[in-house]
């Protein structure tokens, strides 16, 4: 991208400079003080030299931005671009870029002729969404800094910011799934082996609260007069179908209430509803991320109901989660009933656990599946599961730890 549409900006110092130069020239001319006339013209000429050199310094720069993968809110993102000097002379200039409250600046002092440098801005985006990346602005005021020639090298790039990552305990999640009886619905046959996959038995260990009673090794427990459970070496992949319910009740408006105290309450309800939606979305990415980082990444399917249904499926990996779950950046909560074709929630092959992630319990999606006899598990903000630590709690723990430290 090469620059175009340069804007010339006079600093306050330049305005004063011009006024002083004109005053000196006029007084010198009127009083026939030739030295003052020459000095006034000299000052104006310096201004012209500044303008010309600044224009020249900004005219031959080109910028190429590297694509930015989706990032999680609160994550440090590296935004990289290459700046090239296409001129036959070195260029001294300031390059800036800004987006969503982040600003970064580089000064090339100088950038040699035909040279190219890479610049990287490391930003954090605190809020989920699609954040347009600001233009890369070349601001040249070489050599005196009186007149600025500003060129915007233009950018229609944006970065998709996914919900903030929380923390998921996959073990507890599996056990939770078992308790929720997730899996195929009516066709599920009782099985001694649970729907959750297990690996080879590595050994035995003492029972810990939360362990599945099925894993208790009775013989050893009887022998030792203490509960012992089997410990597995490897878990088989747990295929997951994550169904997002982006429920957000219609927010209260000021016109809906009659007194200020009631408005305060309603506003709080609005905020709480938004918080729950974000909680749910955060849960989705956290679960996907945790699955991707597990020892046996499962097959993940993400179902995003909406005006356009989005179904993304693939082997869980960090890169896959970023790319596949990018749609979460654009999720807009709605109170409308969303269309959800049942084919979307049936796995292509094998078993898969269906999990509804919602701000509320017993929403329309759950009712739909229940009506069709499709088994599912539901995690909602109204009844948060213990295997998920939301990001705000993680931050509090981090702050506490820092304070203690």
């Amino acid at each position: 991208m090469t620059g175009s549409g340069a804007k010339i900006r006079f600093t306050r110092a330049a305005t004063v400079w011009t006024a002083v130069a004109l005053m000196i020239t006029v007084v010198g001319w009127y009083k026939t003080i030739n030295l003052l006339v020459l000095a006034g013209y000299f000052l104006l000429a310096l201004l012209a030299v500044n303008l010309r050199l600044a224009w020249r310094a900004s005219a031959r720069l080109s910028v190429s931005r590297r694509p930015v993968p989706p990032a999680f809110a609160g994550e440090l993102v590296a935004l990289t671009a290459e700046i090239r000097n296409d001129a036959s002379h070195p260029i001294t200039t300031l390059v800036t870029t800004a987006s969503a409250g982040n600003r970064t600046a580089w000064m090339f002092a100088p950038l040699a002729a035909t040279d190219q440098r890479t610049i990287t801005a490391r930003w954090t985006f605190e809020k989920r969404g699609r954040h347009p990346l600001g233009s890369i602005v070349v601001d040249s005021s070489y050599p005196l800094g009186l007149v600025h020639v500003v060129r915007s090298l233009g950018s229609d790039a944006a970065v998709q910011v996914l919900p903030t990552l929380g923390q998921v305990n996959m073990e507890q999640f599996r056990r939770w799934l078992v308790r929720q009886n997730a899996g195929e619905g009516e066709t599920r046959r009782p099985s001694r082996r649970p729907a959750v996959g297990t690996g080879e038995v590595r050994g035995l260990r003492p029972y810990r609260p939360g362990d599945t009673p099925r894993e208790i090794h009775w013989k050893t427990s009887a022998r030792r007069n203490q509960l012992w459970v089997r410990e597995y070496d490897r878990t088989e992949p747990l295929d997951l179908i994550l169904i997002v319910d982006p429920y957000l009740p219609d927010p209260y408006a000021v016109s809906d209430v009659v007194n200020p105290k009631e408005w305060e309450t309603k506003r709080h309800e609005n905020r709480e509803a938004e918080r729950r939606l974000e909680w749910a979305l955060s849960l989705v990415v956290s679960l996907g991320f945790a699955a991707a980082e597990s020892d046996a990444p499962p097959q993940l399917t993400l179902v995003l109901p909406g005006n356009e249904l989005q179904v993304v499926s693939g082997r869980a990996g960090v890169a896959f989660v970023r790319q596949a779950f990018a749609g979460l950046a654009d999720v807009v909560g709605t109170a409308d009933q969303l269309r959800l074709p049942l084919d979307a929630v049936r796995p292509k092959a094998g078993n898969a656990a269906r999990v509804i992630l919602s701000p509320r319990s017993g929403g329309t999606i759950a009712a739909l599946l229940r009506g069709q006899g499709i088994s599912y598990a539901e995690a909602s903000a109204e009844r948060p599961p213990n295997w998920f630590t939301p990001p705000e709690f993680l931050m509090r723990k981090h702050d506490l730890a820092e304070r203690k430290g």
Binding site: S64, D86, T92, T96, A98, T104
Partner: protein, 777 residues
């Protein structure tokens, strides 16, 4: 990136030079200000050396500022109370200018010892500029010009370093302003030459100053000039040259500065119209003759007629005032005044003959107006007011006599007592022999006695002199004694020529003080002193102002210039000589010399020492040899003294040059050069378009690597074919991978993922290594 040390050095140097400019400018006006400027410079040095180690807190700074303000107010109040101060000497409000200087300079120390943010540095630059501008309004000699130029260079140097540090965020921002994001500084190379002193930035500053001057100079030259008189600030600045004043004030002190301003332009032709190219460059031109001296001033008082017959104004000449014919050696001098004078200049001695036409005519639009010859001996324009006499051109018929110092003969009004009776205040000669310096008469007598001891002719004159009622030489001895006295002043080692006019005793008469005490002065003092000494000895003497010398114009034959720096003063005395053959008397005189009737002449005598006249002006030869003199002349003529006339002359000179062969050649060369430049740019653009960047940076790097290592595409080869060929030659599929990815990005519109870009980087590195190993094709 410049160092902070270099920035501080440049800024303090700039401020120091601004103070130096103002101190230099105020030296003659307000010496206190100059000393104060020196003190500020000392503070600047201390502050620079302290390097921020010692800084005042806000309370201390406020107290110091209050104290400085109080002291400044008290000092200014004292100036208002002191009736001898410049406030009452110079016209208001210009009289405040010298006092602004210290008030400006005092602002610098107030800022030096405080922590400074960007706004403070800008403020200091502004104070420096105001200081230098104020100085430029009060001073204008070449040395000041050099100081100002140094200030300009240092100022630009400082501003450029200020720019770097400011943009890089290395200086504290203005409080409560948005400091902007932190700046990462990148450079293509790490330059070891970026020394502590920032020399390379100084070199660039010189270039920018030169560029700015090149831009400003044409505007300066082209700007129409104001018709207002040249600003002169301060009585104590004196320049050589005549003025519009109708008196000569010898009470002035100060240093006379040669002024290169043109006073007159002369066009000299022979009767047949051919230009004179061998005119005497030491020719005298007289302007004003003064006959009365009192209290240090020469004035001209009305006199009784002294001439019996005059040159006539031909009133009935319908052809409009033809000039007289003085013979085959006659030349016509056309005077074009460049300045306004009370009396115009004429080539001396002014030739005239009784009863013949006036030798001078005014060249008005309608006719030639002959000048009137008064019976007091002066020529005046007729019919045109005197105030305009110096404006319209006029022409003089001139022939250089055998005795160049001797004026033409004339018959006095009183044939029997041409000098009048002694002591008669109504006598004509009373005016030319009178003065009130009693002590001078005795001193002059003693001087004549001393001269008589080594000059028998003087002694004889003294022996023949009349003692009663006052000492008086006889007319026949006027010339010999006058020449002896003139030679004494011109050659005596006791008397020294100088342009620095000083008075050791302000209460004494300036000429007496010159003759008895200081014995130093310029041509006016030598001439005035000689005239008064001669008057004391009874010799009728007048004090004459005019010019001595002229410069030929290099381009135009017959054109000469008389500059103000050639202004001169001398003495003329009235002496009797035997009448030349054929002289027509109106009344036969009583006196005789050598058996012939007596006529009178004005004899010009120059008592100014010879080496003084050479020092007072820079002749053409000096200018060519001395670069400093060249610079001074250029500065005086084309910067300080650039007036409407010079502007017109510059335009004419430039026009003449461009119409000449060199100018025409330069114009055609410039046109050819412009055409060549346009064609070259077009060719370059076409060549660059063929190699236009693809818009994909990593692919352009791939192409530049191939170009650099001599692997261009073969004729008709596509990118993919080239990549395939290179892959075979290098034994690596890196080129194919890169080109494949380029096709996808460029033509399929696919966004390349970060991981793929990393792979491209690796492929480019691999390609570079392999190519280097295998070498060019």
């Amino acid at each position: 990136m410049p160092t902070h040390f270099a920035f501080r050095l440049s800024t303090y140097l700039t401020l120091g030079l601004a103070c130096a400019c103002l101190s230099y400018a105020e030296w003659d006006l307000l010496r206190q200000a100059s000393f104060f400027g020196g003190l500020v410079i000392v503070f600047l040095v201390i502050a620079f050396l302290c390097d921020g180690r010692y800084e005042l807190d806000l309370t201390s700074a406020n107290r110091l500022g209050f104290g400085i303000g109080l002291a400044g107010t008290a000092w200014l109040a004292y100036q208002f109370l002191n009736k001898n101060s410049l406030i009452y000497t110079f016209p208001w409000p210009a009289s405040l200018l010298p006092y602004l200087g210290p008030l400006l300079m005092v602002l610098m120390p107030a800022k030096l010892f405080r922590p400074k943010h960007i706004g403070d540095w800008w403020a200091m630059q502004g104070i420096g500029l105001a200081t230098a501008s104020l100085a430029a309004a009060m001073e204008d000699d070449a040395i000041f010009g050099v100081l100002l130029a140094l200030y300009a260079v240092c100022g630009v140097w400082s501003l450029s370093l200020f720019f770097y540090l400011r943009v890089a965020g290395l200086l504290p921002p203005v409080p409560l302003s948005d400091p902007g994001p932190p700046v990462t500084i990148l450079a293509s190379t790490i330059r070891v030459e970026e020394t502590q002193f920032g020399r390379e930035f100084l070199g660039r500053a010189l270039g920018w100053v030169a560029l700015a001057i090149a831009i400003a100079a044409p505007f300066f030259v082209l700007t129409p000039r104001s018709a207002a008189p040249k600003w002169t600030f301060g009585q104590q600045r004196l320049e050589t040259g005549l003025t519009q004043e109708n008196f000569s004030d010898l009470n002035r002190t100060g240093e006379l500065k040669p002024s290169r301003e043109a006073a007159f332009e002369l066009t000299i032709n022979r009767r047949d119209g051919t230009p004179v190219t061998d005119f005497n460059l030491e020719q005298r031109f007289r302007s004003s003759t003064f006959n009365s001296y009192e209290g240090g001033r020469w004035v001209r008082v009305d006199t009784q007629p002294i001439l019996m017959n005059t040159a006539r104004l031909i009133r009935d000449d319908r052809s409009g005032g033809a000039l007289p014919n003085f013979g085959p050696n006659q030349i016509d001098i056309t005077f074009v005044p460049k300045i306004r004078l009370t009396e115009p200049i004429l080539a001396d001695p002014v030739n005239w003959e009784t009863g013949k036409a006036s030798p001078i005519v005014t060249l008005s639009e309608l006719e030639l107006r002959p000048w009137l010859h008064g019976k007091d001996g002066l020529f005046r324009p007729f019919g045109i007011p005197m105030t305009k006499g110096g404006v319209l051109p006029y022409r003089q018929s001139f022939v250089s006599p055998a005795e160049t110092d001797l004026g033409p003969p004339w018959e006095p009004m009183s044939a029997y007592q041409p000098l009048g009776s002694a002591g008669d205040p109504d006598s004509l000669w009373y005016v030319f022999r009178n003065h009130r310096l009693t002590k001078l008469r005795a001193w002059s007598r003693e001087l004549a006695v001393r001269l008589g001891k080594s000059n028998p002719a003087v002694q004889t004159a003294l022996d023949r002199a009349i003692e009663s009622p006052t000492f008086q030489l006889i007319p026949q001895d006027f010339e010999v004694v006058a020449r002896a006295v003139t030679a004494y002043f011109a050659q005596s080692p006791e008397y020294e020529y100088t342009l620095k006019l000083r008075r050791l005793d302000a209460a004494a008469d300036p000429i007496e003080e010159f003759l008895y005490r200081s014995k130093q002065g310029h041509c006016e003092r030598f001439a005035a002193g000689t005239a008064l000494v001669l008057r004391s000895l009874g010799i009728p003497a007048a004090y004459v102002l005019g010019y001595r010398g002229c410069e030929p114009d290099a381009d135009t034959a017959g054109l000469y210039l008389v500059r103000q720096e050639l202004a001169h003063a001398w003495v003329e005395i009235a002496i009797p000589r035997p009448a030349p053959a054929g002289f027509e008397f109106r009344r036969r005189p009583n006196d005789r010399l050598d058996g012939k009737p007596v006529v009178w002449h004005w004899l010009s005598l120059d008592p100014t020492p010879a080496e003084g006249t050479e020092d007072s002006t820079d002749g053409a030869g000096d200018v060519l040899k001395n670069p400093w003199a060249q610079f001074v002349n250029f500065f005086s003529d084309f910067i300080i003294g650039y007036d409407p006339e010079k502007r017109r002359g510059a335009f004419e000179a430039v026009s003449r040059w461009f119409l000449g062969p060199f100018g025409q050649g330069l114009i055609w060369l410039s046109v050819a050069g412009l055409v060549a430049l346009v064609l070259a740019r077009r060719h370059r653009r076409r060549r660059l378009a063929a190699m236009a960047p693809s818009g994909i940076v990593w692919f352009d790097r791939y192409r530049s690597i191939l170009q650099k290592y001599g692997r261009p595409p073969q004729a008709g080869e596509t990118l993919a074919e080239q990549a395939t060929r290179l892959s075979v030659e290098l034994g690596s599929d890196a080129p194919k991978r890169i080109v494949a990815l380029y096709y996808e990005a460029r033509f399929a519109g696919r966004t390349i993922a970060t991981a793929e870009l990393d792979a491209v980087e690796a492929a480019l590195t691999e390609l570079t290594i392999l190519i280097r190993q295998t070498g060019p094709e």
